[in-house]
Symmetry: C2
């Protein structure tokens, strides 16, 4: 990082977020319909310009998610930065992309301009947002195998069955019930809510919470692709 004789820094610096949740056992992404050019009427990731009053890009993405997507209570992590002269018709641009994993209940009502899409059946997206979204899904799939990230798709209190469903949706394939439970149990990442049960059609099931924030571990949950 040195002073150069001729500096032409990019004029456009934004943050964009891949907001993922689970609905009906499937991973869905939150998109909004752009009201303005460029890419007017195209679906796009929630995002916005970085402002000098933001304390960091992380702060900018938190602001954008709150203001534009009405989302709260999410886990967020930086994905990658996408840049180049062609990704925005207005000129050389740079977007710091984030992934946010949110329980469905923390997302705003769907509307004409804000909707959830199955990540396997996406509409045409603005800018290079299709690529960014694919990278976000890739991250969830990758981290799903060895972290508690998929649990962030669920509300804070859940059953083991629900947790297994979140892992299956994140990983994209079924997991053996006994194997899953043995591993989750050995890892000691859950707190059992003693005495609290969820009642349904059959035997009631024990409720749990995550014992700590998103954790990573060595053992794989549910094998490779």
């Amino acid at each position: 990082m040195t002073n150069d004789a001729h500096i032409h820094s990019p004029a456009i610096a934004t943050v964009d977020a891949v907001v993922l949740t689970m609905e009906n056992g499937q991973i869905k992404a939150l998109l909004h319909k752009r009201p303005e050019e460029p890419f007017r009427e195209f679906w796009a990731l929630p995002g916005g310009f970085i402002r000098t009053e933001d304390a960091s890009a992380e702060a900018a993405v938190a602001r954008v998610l709150r203001d534009k997507a009405g989302a709260s209570g999410f886990w967020v992590e930086q994905l990658a930065t996408f840049s180049g002269p062609d990704r925005d018709p207005r000129g050389w641009s740079l977007s710091i992309a984030y992934i946010a994993v949110v329980p469905l209940e923390n997302l705003p009502e769907i509307s004409e301009t804000v909707q959830l899409f199955d990540v396997e059946e996406l509409p045409a997206l603005a800018f290079d947002h299709a690529r960014i979204l694919a990278e976000g899904v890739r991250r969830l799939r990758g981290k799903g195998a060895y972290s508690t990230l998929p649990a962030k798709l669920l509300p804070p209190v859940f059953t083991l069955k629900e947790l297994q469903g979140a892992y299956e949706a994140a990983l994209g394939h079924p997991i053996e019930q006994a194997t899953f439970r043995r591993k989750i149990s050995d890892l000691r990442v859950l707190d059992e809510l003693r005495g609290e049960l969820r009642r349904g059609e059959g035997r009631p099931s024990q409720l749990y919470t995550l014992s700590a924030d998103a954790q990573t571990f060595d053992r794989s949950l549910g094998g490779s692709v």
Copy 2:
């Protein structure tokens, strides 16, 4: 990514690279002494401003590594983007950080202003470069356990002993010889250079090359920390 009423995009956008190699069985980072303010005389990561003539940030970092560090033949991957109002005294800034893994022989001669430092014994660094460098080392350690990335620390032709040394340096702990060889063999990521041997004090050893570019695999090489 929408048009906002008031745009104050950051004025300073740079790329910085954590250039890692192996010397005497240890991981070293290439640093240069800054000739100008800010942080004049401080050691810093090789880096520079992004220019609008760069095709992307990846192109910018390739240009910077070629021009400033004289490095070539490196493997490079994006690490993360660091941003905020305080990391550069000149104002709100943003740096897209990369990790580059290079064989020692591809680096330029050391000099007064360009030197290699053991990543465990670093001098005071400019800006937030200490944090960026730590993140780069973290990435190498993390990927070391399940990819061929440590092989990029070596010249294209190497013995199994040398490869094991690269993994041990990257991971930071010794690996069982038999286990290492069994796994590397099972993974089929090396090409044996039939008939080519390296002669030393004892029995000559077989030479190998990577059969393909950096690969990722499920099996761990050398366990956890």
